[in-house]
Symmetry: C2
Subunit: 216 residues, 2 copies
DNA sequence: CCTACCGATCGGTAGG
DNA sequence: CCTACCGATCGGTAGG
């Protein structure tokens, strides 16, 4: 019994898929997940539309794959930067620092991929919306956990309202993204660091982070 | 010399235009300013596409008119609610109160119209982007002005960084919008009021507003 | 304000 | 992974 052999090797196909996703993340970051059309992607990659679509099956699957690829980038840029840091306050500070840096460096040219995606899909029930909501919930939960650990360790006041703190941190992040993208406001990272420092009670600069590490 | 008479009277045409904009604001709030297509608008209104387009000339003009119509609603919901209030701290409190209420009541079903529009257009240079950026700049400037007035009156500490305060207020607003729309988080308005109260140093509840008024 | 169009592009399929 | 399609919809125009 013969199996029809693919025109490209498995390794080549995987590379193509990863190329498509890299272009897709960039395109979706600038134009939105709906503005990411199969035709534009194909043109940009010098492929046929069906060649692109064949890797995913439908536009929704393509969107889900692009969201996953963007999440990998975010994880590499933020969570991984705090991976070796002691849980609690040091890790909370490191995450905030990396988050601000991720927005300051404009890792996604269109600003935070997930803020844009959330705003685009928060009114459209479906798998894409669920994926975005799920990811941001996980990241917020991580902030919450580090806050509770910091409280337990006595590094944050015991009367801290952890949910409230996470809400306010998310606000600073959103304000930074908004000011950077819409107003091209270059003072925004400074405002964001100042706000976070006041919220958490410790400067979020690198030096303090090192001191926290040494103390841990 | 004859002028070709329109099929509808001027008053009727104006009413039609206003009907189109009302539908347009609702559609754009849910689907985005790009998802607002002339065909869908026509179907929803029981009109022909060219009948809709004739009122605006092009899709971009339609988008600009919809942004203006949404700005009128925002002004009615927020700025007008603080119109009679004394400048400075009382007005700042009243504006924040109205802003939270506007998001809590979900005046636009898709969440803050301008947050969504900003996220959609922050990467697309053009008149629509300029209109959105201009409006949010005006509203932020109003917050800034009231902050300065409150400082001059001694109602806020003289060392207050007004730009920083406006940045942080905008973050609370954005976090409230995000939590409400993406996570359907009903505790968000409480978090937002608590954050604003702490930022400004006075409760933003109605009773305090009345007391501030009496004291003024 | 309508009908009747236009070329372009959309997501997706058949078949190889 | 390609060519060659499909019906639907896009923004917009001509002409009345």
């Amino acid at each position: 019994m013969l199996i029809v052999s693919p025109r490209r090797s498995v390794a080549e196909a995987r590379q193509t898929r990863s190329d498509i996703l890299a272009s897709g993340v960039r395109l979706a970051s600038a134009e939105g997940l709906e503005g990411l059309t199969i035709g534009r992607l194909a043109t940009e990659l010098g492929m046929s539309k069906s060649g692109v679509l064949g890797h995913f099956g439908s536009k929704e699957e393509l969107q889900l794959a692009v969201v996953d690829a963007a999440a990998d980038i975010f994880t590499r840029e933020v969570a991984d930067k705090a991976r070796g840091v002691a849980p609690g306050l040091p890790k909370l500070l490191a995450m905030c620092r990396a988050w601000v840096s991720y927005l300051e460096r404009r890792v996604f040219p269109g600003g935070c991929f997930f803020t844009a995606a959330a705003s685009e899909f928060d009114d459209r029930p479906g798998r894409v919306r669920n994926a975005i909501a799920g990811l941001t919930t996980v990241w917020n939960r991580d902030l919450y956990r580090q806050t509770r650990t910091a409280m337990a360790a006595g590094d944050l006041p015991p009367e801290t309202d952890a949910d409230q703190l996470v809400f306010e941190i998310s606000g600073v992040i959103l304000a930074l993204n908004n000011a950077t993208q819409l107003h091209r406001d270059t003072t925004a990272p400074t405002h964001a660091r100042r706000a976070l420092t006041r919220l958490i009670g410790y400067p979020i600069t690198a030096i303090t982070l090192l001191l926290s590490l040494r103390a841990a």
